[in-house]
């Protein structure tokens, strides 16, 4: 901790635009139909266990995990399976998707039962069965985090409530509206892993959430609710671990290797919701906002709901949308059309009018050094650019482009509007090819 105080990580001051922070979560009525892709997580696609014509109810298993790193999928509405058909996802992968026509009843599945969670392995099993995946862009299956062989290695639990992306307030609302789930979740995980301390990291731009959490945990000396400076990307996993525990996760290692288990607040609340109700992950609380949205909201949305239905629930558009994002403006993905669905790791959908949708013109790098001095991972984008332009895998390795978390702080601050993140994504491929060639050469 002292280390993180003396040698702080840098970042950028992004506009907060937490316009929806005061809006309590509402639940939208079920859409007429949903489309649920079998890939909403990193790893193997889930295998569909239903076929066209099957009747399904909310929470019923419709696809089972396709491997250790995979996750089951449950019906988010009650109704009839229309078809199972391959779709191309926004990341370019092709995988089956399950189309369900809703009967509008949202009838819960009768076979739902609460899991027995009396040990860490039971918790890992429960999380696996719940279908919960992490909120990072990759959607890492959360159960893998609890596959802990030696529980004495767990020194810290870090709960990520930083929510550093502009616009998004769904974690804020979870902290305010479902504080009890977070409290019981923290106690449960803490009892099963016996850490030295539990840190709940929240950016200081959410004073109400900090106050409420501190109030709820005031008799619990082990739990430290830490107000963090609003410095993007405060919620980056490695950044938050460093800023709360002072630990540095070495490259190629997991947080657990330095004694840390880290969970997002909403993920924790979802786990607790499953344990206390038996209802797996079938809906997501998302923030709907942006300059083109008529009535910005925080909405519980059934997974698989098309964005067009979500926006319609939010009053439609007040201006023609020119850019639609999954997630926040710093790391979110722009989507090509409104037929794509809300998936498990969606925490916001934003629609922007023309004035916020433009792509600024790229000009030559003037070596201002802003990207260098604002990179939370302390990388050197100009040096990476040089190595990338030379297709020099060895230099890319020296510059550790593999450590780039693509947070976008560099591109945000760049006065020349260089596509730095994009370049780093491509450079990682060059690096991987070089590393594979190295391995091949040695064998």
């Amino acid at each position: 901790m002292l280390k993180s105080f003396l040698d702080p990580l840098s970042g950028v001051h992004v506009p907060h635009r937490k316009n929806t922070a005061h809006l309590e979560a509402v639940r939208m009525p079920p859409p007429e139909s949903v489309v649920i892709p079998t890939v909403m997580h990193i790893g193997a696609p889930a295998k569909p266990v239903v076929k066209a014509g099957d009747k399904v109810a909310v929470g019923q298993l419709i696809a089972e995990p396709g491997g250790f790193i995979s996750a089951p999928i449950h019906a988010s509405v009650s109704g009839t399976v229309k078809k199972v058909e391959d779709v191309v996802l926004s990341n370019g992968r092709q995988a089956p998707a399950i189309y369900i026509d809703s009967d509008g009843e949202m009838r819960p599945f009768e076979g739902l039962k609460k899991p027995e969670v009396d040990s860490l392995s039971a918790l890992a099993d429960a999380v696996r069965e719940s279908g919960i995946v992490g909120l990072g862009g990759a959607g890492f299956p959360t159960s893998v985090k609890f596959a802990i062989k030696d529980v004495s290695k767990v020194e810290f639990i870090v709960i990520n409530g930083a929510e550093c992306e502009p616009y998004i307030t769904s974690d804020t609302r979870t902290m305010l509206d479902f504080t009890d789930l977070i409290v019981s979740g923290v106690h449960r995980v803490s009892a099963l892993t016996d850490p030295k301390a539990v840190y709940i990291g929240v950016e200081k731009n959410k004073p109400k959430a900090i106050k409420k959490l501190r109030e709820m945990f005031k008799d619990d000396p082990k739990v430290i609710v830490k107000g963090l400076p609003p410095m993007y990307p405060q919620g980056g996993e490695k950044v938050l671990i460093y800023n709360t525990t002072g630990r540095i996760v070495p490259e190629g290692k997991l947080p657990l290797d330095v004694g840390v288990v880290i969970l997002n607040v909403t993920t924790l609340a979802n786990i607790e919701r499953y344990i206390t109700t038996g209802m797996p992950l079938v809906e997501k609380l998302i923030t709907v906002d942006g300059s083109a949205v008529k009535e910005p909201k925080n909405v519980f949305v059934p997974i698989g709901t098309r964005l067009s239905d979500v926006f319609e629930f939010c009053g439609g558009f007040k201006a023609e949308p020119k850019k639609i994002l999954y997630g926040g403006p710093m790391m979110g993905t722009a989507v090509p059309d409104l037929t794509v669905p809300v998936i498990k790791n969606t925490n916001a959908v934003l629609a922007f009018a023309e004035k916020d949708a433009g792509v600024p013109e790229e000009t030559p790098c003037i070596r201002c050094g802003n990207c260098v001095n604002h990179c939370p991972m302390r990388l050197n984008p100009p040096a990476i650019a040089k190595a990338f332009n030379n297709k020099d895998g060895e230099a890319l390795y020296r510059q550790r482009v593999n450590l780039c978390m693509e947070c976008g702080a560099c591109s945000f601050i760049c006065p020349a509007h260089q596509p730095i993140v994009q370049r780093h994504k491509l450079a990682k491929i060059v690096l991987r090819d070089w590393q594979n060639a190295q391995k091949g050469g040695k064998a």
Binding site: P166, E320, K323, P329, A334, T339, D356, C368, A383, A416
Partner: protein, 316 residues
């Protein structure tokens, strides 16, 4: 997922918002920061100062336009970097210099030092510093002059550095005159107060960090104190010649100096040592431009040596 009904959406890579900073905006800030020095210079050395600076700015713009036309490139003067080069060079010249050397110097700065190396962002040497050094060599007499100080009833006086070095006869101006810029020298280099206002503006606007300037000026002060054994003379050294304009505006040029903060400290230190050595031992009374140019050559190596260790890096 079904057939795309709307395809009018813009799909671009993240991030989708920016800080609003542009290269042009930064250059505009530098221009604003240079204005106090320009105003002070034209008060101290008279209206001809404005002519010199105007010619230098115009020549830089014309040079870049001409180069882009001949080489069939996109026009680039809109980024205002040529204006900055012209301003800094003009402010580094004496007010009584002839027009023709100014034109030659400006074209040299823009075409030879900047455009031929690939334009903005690609040059390894500071165009204004390089042009000033070229002009010192090519137009020694014209450059050695100093404008008549119009602001007070005084005749043209030699520069304090020349006096301190025993190269010219005369008495050192009072310290207050040094701060106000009432001494011999180039148009924009004499008024310390104006330059410090510019420095403060650049810091407030976060265009530059304090590292290079503070280390450069601070070390010149300390080293001079060590050499001349007098804090007062050391202060004269700091306020003399082109140190302040160099340390604020030329040693902080993005393109030709290190990007890391530690690198900026090293760069400033190197400039300070070179400046003091040239002033003490060299044939010229002044060494700021030489020093900056000299350190420009090491920028790449300084950047490499001051690389920040990536968070979680594991040495293979």
């Amino acid at each position: 997922m079904e057939q795309a009904k709307e395809s009018k959406l813009i799909v671009s890579v993240s991030p989708h918002i920016g800080s609003g900073r542009t290269t042009r905006g930064i250059m505009l800030d530098v221009i604003i920061a240079l204005l106090p020095a320009l105003i002070a210079g034209s008060i101290i050395f008279g209206i001809r100062s404005l002519l010199v600076v105007a010619v230098s700015v115009a020549s830089c713009l014309a040079g870049e336009t001409l180069f882009n036309l001949i080489t069939k490139r996109k026009h680039t003067i809109g980024d205002l970097s040529a204006v900055v080069t012209g301003l800094i060079l003009g402010l580094n010249l004496p007010a009584n210099i002839g027009i023709y050397p100014v034109v030659i110097g400006s074209l040299f700065a823009i075409i030879v030092i900047k455009c031929l190396f690939g334009g903005l962002g690609k040059n390894f040497a500071n165009p204004a510093a390089a042009a000033r050094v070229m002009m010192l060599l090519a137009f020694s007499n014209a450059m050695a002059g100093t404008g008549e100080i119009k602001a007070v009833d005084a005749v043209a006086s030699p520069t304090p550095l020349a006096i301190m070095k025993g190269m010219a006869e005369g008495r050192l101006p009072k310290l207050t005159d040094m701060l106000l810029g009432l001494r011999g020298g180039a148009i924009g280099e004499t008024c310390a107060i104006a330059l410090l206002i510019g420095f403060a503006y650049l810091l407030i606007r976060k265009v530059i960090t304090w590292h290079t300037t503070v280390v450069y000026v601070g070390c010149v002060f300390l080293l001079s104190w060590l050499i001349y054994r007098s804090p007062e003379l050391a202060l004269y050294q700091v306020l003399s010649g082109g140190l302040l304009i160099g340390a604020v505006f030329m040693a902080t040029d993005y393109v030709t100096t290190p990007t890391t903060n530690l690198g900026k400290v090293v760069f400033g230190l190197g400039c300070a040592i070179m400046t003091v050595l040239i002033r003490k031992l060299g044939a010229y009374p002044e060494g700021v431009s030489f020093s900056i140019l000299f350190m420009n050559l090491f920028t790449n190596y300084i950047d490499k040596l001051t690389r920040r260790k990536p968070l979680g890096e594991v040495k293979a």
